[in-house]
């Protein structure tokens, strides 16, 4: 509603939200990609300067070995081995360059040298941290070691301009905090669960609250080409795009992932506020619950405060505001056969019953339409046949009924019912008392001509049964 009124609390360290947003988002994406499976790939990439690799490798080790674990140690050792090989290659590279002589432009050579140095630093840092994690006791002190921050801090200024995005990178060192291991894993888990942080209970003040504007949240692209202005959702895509703008973007450094920096001073954890006033996720709400990541902010804002513009093409009823939600739904759409009276569908019966147990007055809905047709169809047909026959025979039967005085008290009723057009009720009676009628109830011709003697007998029994009517009347109830 009053988007503009929401106070924009600008932390002093940040120059603009926009930059921050871009950085964070990009980081987020990279981190998502990194997993243990990606480990090797990362190692391969690590010949390029990547500071954030340290924070990738380390948490993996840490989460894997809460205590001393020989398996993890083995993998660490092989990791070390690889790193040392890389180091060797790098040194070879330097040696080769020196041997080549100044054939290229000095500037370029200087850049490459910087690149190599940065890479060296990165690998050494990784070596140190991995080696440290081999000893559980050492690990703790190492991960908390401020000297690492210093180390990267030293190296960092040398590599800012690789992206060709000078102003963006220049303040990275201030923006990207040195994340604690715990924070990292949490962020990794809470990819789509904005409610995942309910139990977090960070004391207010222990984290920094950031609030993005509606337009920023809803912007389709977060990375823009500085040359042609084309927007991208992912920085990696932008980097691929940039290659088309010239050879300088094709260098290894230009194509490398932007660095994940760490600043020398320890930073507050960041949490996000929804710009929508009155929302529980808005920082002015009494029971404010912050959102963990930019992605959470985006999904939350779209889900809660935007129109649901994506409609499922299968059921044409379910609508979503986040396209990923639609895709998730489409995977299951049509398979949710458990339906509640409130319209909610479930893929599992126990989920439906849990839902019903929870809400007053909700009941499971029965998909009726097809059963309706099946059940009523044939019997209805029979009824109508019966009625048709009954009407034909009604006069005869009831006439004989009355003349024989069956059930004294019934006479009046019978007459009335004949007068009514609802003789169908009495069709059973007419059928009972007249087998002839009964047989004709079925629209099957063979019976008429096949057994003439039989029909004679039956008509005999017709009269024969009548005599008994009176006696039975007294037995009609117990």
């Amino acid at each position: 509603m009053d988007l503009k009124e929401t106070p924009k609390k600008v932390p002093p360290d940040h120059q603009s939200f926009n930059n921050f947003n871009l950085q964070q988002y990009q980081q987020k994406w990279e981190e998502e990609d990194s997993s243990i499976q990606d480990y090797n790939m990362n190692i391969e990439q690590s010949q390029f300067p990547e500071f954030n690799q340290r924070s990738e490798a380390n948490p993996n080790n840490q989460t894997k070995i809460p205590e001393w674990d020989p398996k993890a140690m083995l993998s660490n050792l092989s990791f070390l081995e690889q790193k040392i090989h890389q180091l060797q290659e790098l040194v070879h590279l330097i040696v080769d360059r020196r041997g080549q002589g100044p054939s290229r432009a000095d500037e370029l050579v200087a850049q490459q040298q910087q690149l190599v140095t940065a890479d060296l630093t990165s690998i050494i840092v990784q070596l140190i941290s991995t080696a440290g994690s081999l000893l559980p006791s050492v690990k703790q002190t190492l991960s908390g070691n401020p000297s690492f921050g210093q180390l990267s801090g030293v190296v960092f200024p040398s590599g800012p301009n690789f992206n060709g995005n000078g102003n963006k990178v220049s303040d990275q060192s201030n923006h990207v905090d040195l994340k604690t291991e715990q924070n990292w894993t949490e962020e990794h888990e809470s990819k789509d669960e904005e409610d995942g942080d309910e139990g977090e209970n960070l004391p207010p003040g222990s984290y920094e609250i950031l609030q993005l504007e509606k337009e920023e949240i809803l912007a389709p692209h977060t990375h823009f080409c500085t040359i042609c202005g084309k927007g991208f959702k992912r920085d990696a895509n932008l980097r691929m795009h940039m290659r088309g703008h010239g050879d300088e973007y094709k260098t290894a450094a230009a194509l490398a992932k932007p660095n994940k920096e760490s600043s020398s001073e320890p930073m507050l954890i960041k949490r996000y506020s929804c710009p929508y006033a009155g929302c529980k996720r808005n920082k002015d709400h009494k029971k404010f619950q912050p959102l963990k990541t930019i992605l959470c902010v985006k999904n939350h804002y779209k889900r809660t405060h935007c129109d649901k513009s994506y409609t499922c093409s299968r059921c044409n009823t379910k609508k979503f505001s986040v396209i990923a939600d639609l895709k998730t739904h489409e995977k299951h759409c049509g398979r949710d056969k458990w339906l509640c009276s409130c319209g909610t569908t479930f893929s599992r019966k126990d989920k439906l019953f849990g839902h019903i147990a929870l809400f007053q007055g909700h009941t499971p809905a029965i998909p009726l339409d097809e059963t309706k047709g099946l059940l009523v169809g044939p019997s209805d047909k029979m009824e109508t046949d019966e009625i048709a026959n009954a009407v034909g025979f009604a006069g005869v039967n009831f006439g004989s009924n009355i003349s024989n005085g069956t059930g004294v008290q019934n006479v009046g009723d019978v007459k009335r019912s004949v007068d009514d057009d609802s003789a169908s009720f009495f069709s059973p009676l007419s059928f009972d008392s007249s087998n002839l009628g009964g047989f004709q109830e079925f629209p099957r011709p063979p019976f008429d001509d096949s057994d003439t003697s039989f029909s004679y007998l039956l008509s005999g029994s017709f009269n024969y049964a009548r005599k008994n009517g009176g006696e039975c009347g007294s037995n009609d109830l117990e």
Binding site: G361, N410, P428, F442, C472, S474, L477
Partner: protein
């Protein structure tokens, strides 16, 4: 009115009503009363609250006359289907007056009813509190959904509603939150989910029957939360185990009656858990649960001082159980020890000496007991009502002597297969003049001598079983027919000496409604004609293997026995015409067994089934006929909810 006899002008409606109130509501006396004259009939119908209808023909007029109805029973009325109900309820306002007071609807076996019919009934009877739809095999979720519209329902019986699933149960549970009594026996589709939801939505449940369901301990955990539950019946739940019973031990604070019969996975330990939490338990049924009663369970039984009834059929018992029960359960009224191993004279004597109030004793197949035990039972338990000693071969006339002299209230005695029973024994027994039900099957040593004593003294007898009593002939039947005029149920199967003459005697027993004559090869159409003409109330008749009855007999059956509900004609010599006549004319017939009729052609079957397909609820046919009969007739049968059993 002007021509009323003087006596009736003195009797005002109030006085008549007062007189009426002295007559038991379900007796033939009431019938005599209302048959006396029109004004009696009027008074009766104006104040009648329950009605059981046997024939659909009279339904509208009867309902119009009885405006104070609270209970309507349509369970034995054929042809109750959606159309009938719709028409009954869619008449003018005047004729649907009867629905206003209706609280109970018995629609058991109303297989033709579907959701549309139930919808009419539920809408028409706003005060509905109890519904019985047991054995309506077509009763499914859709019907349950409609029924759940009756929000005032407190009691629902849905035994063997095979189509009912958790969804339907959930409908009822949510719709009828006041539910107190619910039976889900044999509803095989119900699972733990349904029971869990039921317990959550119907906290006032007092009586719950989940017998033979495939439910496990999750259900019992949910049931444990029911604060008001008094009766829990869960016979034959093969998945329930001791852990589940543990939940019962800590929950269900009001539990008084527990039935865990035939729960294969339940052991003595499970029962120990339950008893630990419920020392006030009054009735415990644990037949065919375990092989041996463990000593821990026996010691726990001591705590059940209020125990009224216990059944441990099929378990191995030691003498200590009798001692423990005899000294602790002073209020015991019933004990079931059928097929228990280890029941001895000594044990029984100890038991009955401590339980003077014992009324019902089941000792079926406890073959080591002798006259000593039965004498002790007779002497200690003066108010004994029911004694079952089937297959106790050591029981002789001495036992019957003691019973005859001490147990004068005895109503129910099962002496099946007791070869020690003879004429002298029956003479002693005839002093038990309150006898209602006597079973003498396979007692080959009895003859007219003994039976005539029974016939002349035990005139209240309603049920008599003489299955394979080879000593029984026409004379015995004659004696019975002259003495036991109240006889309703009689089994003469394989008493081959009985001939047409015997059936002629039998035709004098006007109350007879249930007769088994299997394998009587000496009876012919003449005998059957006499029987049919005499016993007008006959509703169940078994003529299997009566091979010498000719069509004339069946014709008269078709002519006279209008009240026949069930018939077994398997292996009879009935012809095409006879079968068609029978099936077409017997308008109350709902269950027919027609296996191996050697003189009936496929077309005969077809015609006969066509003649009765609208009212049959169950039919048994030879499996090979399934391919020969036309699909139309089979569909027609099924559309009406008729179940076909292929033999």
């Amino acid at each position: 009115m002007e021509s009323l006899p003087p006596i009736l002008s003195l009797l005002t409606d109030d006085l008549l009503l007062h007189i009426l109130s002295f007559l038991p509501s379900s007796s033939s006396d009431r019938k005599s009363f209302r048959s006396a004259c029109r004004s009696f009939l009027r008074v009766d119908s104006l104040h009648r609250t329950n009605l059981k209808i046997l024939r659909p023909e009279f339904l509208p007029s009867l309902l119009r006359k009885h405006t104070k109805l609270e209970t309507l029973d349509l369970s034995v009325c054929p042809r109750i289907d959606d159309n009938t109900v719709t028409i009954l309820l869619s008449r003018g306002v005047g004729s649907t007056e009867w629905t206003r007071g209706i609280k109970t609807l018995v629609l058991s076996r109303a297989v033709g009813l579907r959701w549309a019919g139930f919808e009419c009934l539920v809408r028409g009877c706003p005060g509905l509190e109890a519904v019985d739809v047991s054995y309506c095999c077509g009763f499914g979720d859709r019907e349950a959904a409609v029924l759940s519209g009756a929000v005032g329902l407190r009691e629902v019986r849905m035994d063997k509603c095979l189509e009912l699933s958790d969804v339907g149960l959930a409908k009822i549970a949510v719709g009828c939150g006041k539910m107190e009594r619910l039976s889900l026996k044999w509803c095989l589709e119900i699972t733990d989910l349904g029971i869990g939801l039921l317990c959550k939505k119907c906290p006032q449940l007092k009586h719950l029957d989940i017998s033979f369901l495939k439910v496990a301990s999750d259900s019992l955990q949910a049931i444990g939360t029911l604060q008001n539950l008094e009766v829990l019946v869960m016979a034959g739940c093969g998945l329930l185990d001791d852990d589940g019973l543990g939940f019962l031990g800590t929950g269900c604070p009001s539990l008084q009656v527990l039935d865990v019969s035939r729960c294969d996975k339940v052991s003595s330990f499970g029962l120990v858990y339950v008893i630990r939490g419920h020392s006030g338990l009054r009735q415990l049924y644990a037949g065919y649960c375990f092989f041996e009663l463990s000593t821990t369970l026996l010691h726990r039984l001591k705590e059940l001082t209020n125990l009224n009834r216990i059944r441990v059929d099929g378990a191995g018992v030691s003498e200590s159980i009798f001692q423990i029960i005899g000294t602790n359960c002073k209020f015991l009224v019933e004990i079931g020890l059928s097929k228990c191993k280890g029941v001895t004279d000594k044990g029984l004597i100890e038991l009955v000496s401590g339980c003077p109030n014992m009324k019902i004793l089941n000792l079926t197949c406890c073959d080591s007991i002798t006259d000593a035990a039965v004498s002790a039972v007779a002497e200690s338990c003066r108010s004994l009502l029911s004694l079952k000693v089937e297959s106790c071969n050591l029981v002789t006339e001495k036992s019957l002597h003691c019973l005859g002299s001490s147990s004068l209230l005895l109503e129910d005695l099962d002496l099946t297969d007791c070869s020690g029973v003879n004429d002298a024994g029956l003479q002693y027994l005839s002093k038990c003049s309150e006898l209602l039900c006597l079973k003498l099957g396979l007692c080959t040593n009895i003859s007219v001598k003994g039976l005539s004593y029974i016939a002349s003294n035990c005139t209240k007898i309603r049920e008599l079983d003489l299955y394979r009593c080879t000593g029984i002939g026409n004379d015995e039947v004659a004696a019975l027919s002259s003495g036991c005029k109240k006889l309703k149920k009689l089994n003469l199967s394989y008493c081959n000496e009985v001939t047409d003459r015997g059936l002629q005697y039998l035709s004098q027993v006007k109350e007879l409604s249930d007769l088994e004559l299997r394998g009587l090869v000496n009876i012919t159409g003449v005998g059957l004609t006499a029987l049919a003409a005499g016993c007008k109330r006959l509703s169940e008749l078994d003529l299997k293997h009566c091979e010498n009855i000719n069509d004339s007999g069946f014709w008269s059956l078709a002519y006279y026995s209008w009240n026949l509900q069930q018939i077994n004609l398997s292996h009879c010599g009935i012809s095409d015409v006879g079968l068609c006549m029978l099936m077409g004319n017997l308008t109350r017939l709902q269950d027919a067994k027609l296996v191996n009729l050697r003189n009936v052609s496929v077309q005969g079957y077809e015609l006969a089934l066509r003649a009765c397909c609208v009212r049959l609820k169950k039919v048994k046919l030879l499996a090979s006929l399934g391919f020969l009969l036309s699909p139309e007739i089979l569909d027609a049968l099924r559309a009406r909810g008729c179940r076909i059993r292929w033999d």
